[in-house]
């Protein structure tokens, strides 16, 4: 051994979340004490923000993020977690792991639990809307509920595909043995649970009244619950940036030999484009959040018109982040749909290059549309034709996604599995979501539709009907690889039809409710709309039931029936299905040599996608 000259000392912090929590609690109180000591005004905002920040930092230290840098700093021998270790026990899911497969599973479970809470929030909102006045839920709790539901769902949807499936599958799909920056990847996961907990902590301060947009001056008027919004969102911004850097570096540098850009699975392209957006958009949000923090704590006035600031500043910064953000949600979903459809259509992806151009078109245009959220806010009128045009132009690359998918289905031999059903459901829902988006992009009609239930129905159609349906497709498609168990297709079919019908029955009437003069985020509405709202609420209960059915299917299939998945149950060509199940710790014994595209179904004399014999000296992704 050559370690004779290396110090054998190690950092003694045990790296597990329990240590993290134990450290975080005193850190929180220390932060509160410090903030109250130095804070300018005595409403505790400084203290609460510092408390959250310190608690998060202490949690991350307790989880073990400081071990490696300190060990390197002092020249001690580094901890063994730098290698994707051979530990296959259940404990690895509860520790800081640098194995992208473990991180993917950690993400999936965390986000599904968060989804349950976000969904319960939605049920509470719908329950309170059974009454046209605030007889059921007092208005204070109602706006708190919509804020918590909205921000929780934004946290979830920012990461729900990139987190679990991006992390798990990208190295497998490009033939790499690990991620480029495993510690950044781990960080992008380990800030999500603190963000969720901090967000939930807002409830103890009475929540925040602003919804997810956090418009000042209302957000400066709000109580300490608003601090949860600020810190939670800042943590999600960190997650977006670190995951974006990691994904881009991985996809650019760690592709296996022969994995040319045109052989890249389209899902990886979806992750690639969404990572660009996350990397560039999240810092803008972080900057706006810093300004809001300063306004709330040390009495600056970035956003107060009466003191020389401007509330338009927040609106522009927020939506400059916020609009690319919604494409951060949907681009990986596009990737999933275009990825899954060819495997079940048993045809090559029709117009692969056009599809990639479509993804990039959406990603590029998403930077030029943010002011369509401000059409009625009093922005300079001369800008509005431009933003109207740019917003409508986005429907061209989005249309390409439909073209590619429908072209792939054309004269195919479609194998109607559960993932395929969800892909079809996605197409239908996203079609409605996309068309309704055009209504909102046109300035004259937006005057009536802006801020009404119409726009609320629109983005639920694109996010819930789009991204969550894609998530379901991905779960049914890839969980056999990730867990080694098949999900019950019988329950899966029931789940799809139940969810599809309940979803449309819930959200389609909301378009009508919006056209009939019901603004978003109101606890009291026109009694004439009570019938429609009751219908929506009952449908929403059914929709929640379908999600419970999905959770039941997961538990039933993973823990009770244990129908072992073969390595390639879908007989798919792409690389991730060619590795054994469960996936070995280092993914590939040797780095594969990619010799064909992933979608060459029916192509005469098509070669297998990769040569796993390896070449002497193949190092890519090592």
């Amino acid at each position: 051994m050559v370690t004779a000259e290396v110090s054998e000392r190690r950092l003694a912090i045990p790296n597990n979340p329990i240590t993290g929590v134990l450290l975080a609690i005193p850190a929180y109180f220390f932060g509160v004490w410090l903030g109250n000591l130095f804070g300018l005004i005595d409403d505790q905002n400084t203290g609460v923000i510092l408390g959250y920040v310190f608690a998060t930092a202490a949690f991350l230290i307790g989880v073990g993020f400081l071990n490696y840098p300190l060990e390197r700093l002092f020249g001690w021998s580094v901890s063994p977690i730098t290698e994707p270790d051979e530990n296959r026990g259940l404990g690895r899911f509860f520790r800081l792991s640098l194995d992208h497969k473990v991180i993917g599973m950690q993400y999936l479970v965390t986000i599904l639990i968060m989804l349950l809470f976000g969904g319960i929030g939605a049920m509470a909102i719908r329950t309170s809307l059974l009454s046209p006045n605030s007889a059921i839920t007092p208005p204070g709790q109602y706006i708190m509920l919509i804020g918590l539901h909205a921000v929780m769902m934004i946290f979830i949807t920012s990461a729900v595909i990139v987190g679990p499936f991006g992390n798990y599958l990208v190295p497998l799909m490009i033939g790499a043995r690990r991620m480029a920056f495993p510690r950044l990847e781990a960080l992008s996961f380990w800030v999500v649970p603190p963000a969720a907990v901090i967000l939930a902590a807002a409830a103890f301060w009475g929540g925040f009244p602003t919804g997810w947009t956090g418009y000042p001056p209302l957000s400066e008027q709000a109580g300490q619950g608003m601090d949860s919004y600020i810190v939670g969102f800042a943590l999600i911004a960190i997650a977006l940036v670190s995951s974006g850097v990691n994904m881009l570096a991985t996809i650019i540098t760690l592709r296996a030999p022969g994995m040319t850009w045109t052989r890249l699975p389209i899902f990886v392209w979806g992750i690639f484009t969404t990572s660009i957006l996350g990397l560039l958009a999240a810092p803008v949000l972080a900057a706006a959040l810093v300004q809001l923090t300063l306004d709330r704590t040390v009495q600056t006035s970035f956003f107060l018109a009466s003191n020389g600031g401007s509330n338009y500043l927040w609106q522009n910064l927020f939506w400059f982040f916020g609009h690319p953000e919604v494409y951060i949600f949907i681009l990986p979903a596009f990737g999933i749909i275009m990825e899954i459809v060819p495997h079940f259509a048993r045809k090559p992806l029709w117009g692969y290059r056009t599809g990639v151009v479509g993804l990039f078109g959406v990603a590029l245009l998403s930077w030029f549309v943010w002011q369509h959220h401000l059409f009625v806010s009093g922005i300079a009128p001369v800008l509005r034709p431009f933003y109207m045009l740019s917003t409508e132009l986005i429907s061209i690359p989005t249309g390409i996604i439909f073209l590619v998918t429908l072209g792939t289905l054309w004269r195919a031999r479609v194998w109607f599995t559960v993932p395929m059903l969800f892909c079809m459901g996605f197409l239908f829902n996203f079609l409605i979501g996309g068309i309704s988006g055009v209504y909102l992009s046109d300035v004259p009609t937006d005057v009536t539709l802006h801020g009404s239930y119409f726009s609320m129905a629109h983005f639920h159609y694109t996010i819930m009907g789009g991204e969550i349906f894609a998530l379901m497709a991905a779960c049914y498609y890839w969980l056999p690889k990730m867990t080694g168990k098949m999900l019950s297709p019988t329950i899966g079919r029931l789940h799809f039809w139940w969810m599809f019908i309940a979803f449309n029955s819930t959200f389609f009437p909301l378009f009508i409710i919006g056209l009939l003069n019901m603004p978003r985020r109101v606890s009291a509405y026109d009694p004439g709309l009570q019938g429609l709202n009751t219908w929506v609420t009952v449908s929403a209960y059914f929709l929640f039931g379908s999600m419970i059915l999905f959770a039941g299917n997961l538990i039933y299939s993973l823990f009770f029936v244990s129908r072992k998945a073969v390595a390639n149950p879908w007989h798919a060509r792409s690389l991730e299905w060619q590795v054994p199940t469960p996936v070995p710790a280092r993914n590939f014994d040797r780095v594969p040599l990619i010799v064909a595209g992933p979608y060459d179904y029916g192509v005469p004399n098509a070669r297998p996608v990769a040569d796993f014999g390896g070449r002497v000296g193949a190092t890519g992704g090592g």
């Binding site: 602003t210 009625v376 009093g378 009128p381 606890s523």
Partner: protein, 282 residues
């Protein structure tokens, strides 16, 4: 490959789909044009929006029907027949089809943008000029100036042409163009007069100008459309009225008389106000 030629195997599908699409689209367009789409024709601007919404729905219907038809058709005709897995024909793409698809969608988008921009340019619906009102009646020309003042949680109105009298409800005379100046005393609200086809954010320190021309007598609702705190949902008033000029004159005279005393202490009419206490603490 650059010629647009339908392959032999595609032909039955294409013909079937085309016929079905044309029939369904015609039925669909006729059906959706029967729908009475809000906000209605109480004002010129509202009628405009209704017309644009109808146009969009009519244009969206064939697109919607086409794609849904394709999805259902694929599910029925392109499904695997036997139990064993069969690969489909290896079609990698078809440049002419892609070009046609992209061209058609571009044309539709540009047409919609053209309609929208024309509407913005010719009809002053939804035209805002923040902070650019002189605040005097003379500057508005023939348009009547009405200021909407949002505050947590109520809208009040001031009539610049009637010595700036402040009222608790909005009355507008019919057939007279109105210039709405929307501002806020505290946080962001949004003035949404649904039947008038007006929605304008009320920002503190900003004079957000919208134009509206009532063309029919009737009442209208006013709601806040931007989350503004606990009573956001209650920030509504259903007593807005479009009345005849003579009714309006007597109503405004009554308001001036009723509120004469308080009018003396209300600040003089201005594009926007920064009342004390300005910001934090008191």
């Amino acid at each position: 490959m650059s010629t647009f030629r339908i392959e032999e195997a595609d032909r039955p599908h294409v013909i079937r789909l085309a016929i079905l699409w044309v029939i369904l689209s015609v039925i669909g367009v006729i059906a959706v044009l029967q729908i009475q789409i809000p906000p209605g024709d109480e004002t010129v601007q509202g009628a405009d929006q209704t017309r644009t919404l109808s146009l969009m729905t009519a244009m969206a219907t064939p697109v919607f029907i086409g794609v849904v038809m394709m999805i259902i058709y694929s599910a029925i005709y392109f499904r695997r027949k036997g139990r064993e897995l069969v690969d489909g024909p290896p079609m990698l793409g078809n440049a002419p089809v892609q070009v046609v698809w992209i061209t058609v969608s571009t044309i539709m988008v540009l047409f919609l943008a053209f309609v929208g921009i024309t509407e913005l340019a010719t009809n002053s619906s939804a035209q805002t000029v923040p902070g650019q009102s002189s605040g005097t009646a003379a500057a508005g020309g023939s348009e009547m100036q009405v200021q909407v003042i949002a505050q947590q949680w109520y809208f009040t109105y001031r009539y610049a042409d009637y010595s700036g009298v402040e009222t608790t409800h909005l009355y507008l005379p019919v057939d007279r163009p109105v210039e709405l100046h929307v501002t806020s005393l505290d946080i962001i609200h949004s003035f949404w007069a649904y039947q008038l086809g007006v929605k304008a954010d009320a920002n503190p320190g900003v004079d957000n100008v919208f134009h509206v021309t009532p063309q029919k007598l009737g009442s209208f609702q006013v709601r806040c459309a931007e989350l503004c705190g606990i009573w956001h949902g209650e920030m509504a008033d259903s007593q807005g009225q479009v009345v005849s000029q003579s009714d309006f004159d007597s109503w405004i005279a009554q308001q001036q008389q009723d509120y004469a005393a308080i009018q003396k202490v209300v600040p003089s009419y201005a594009p926007f106000y920064f009342p004390l206490p300005l910001t934090k603490g008191s």
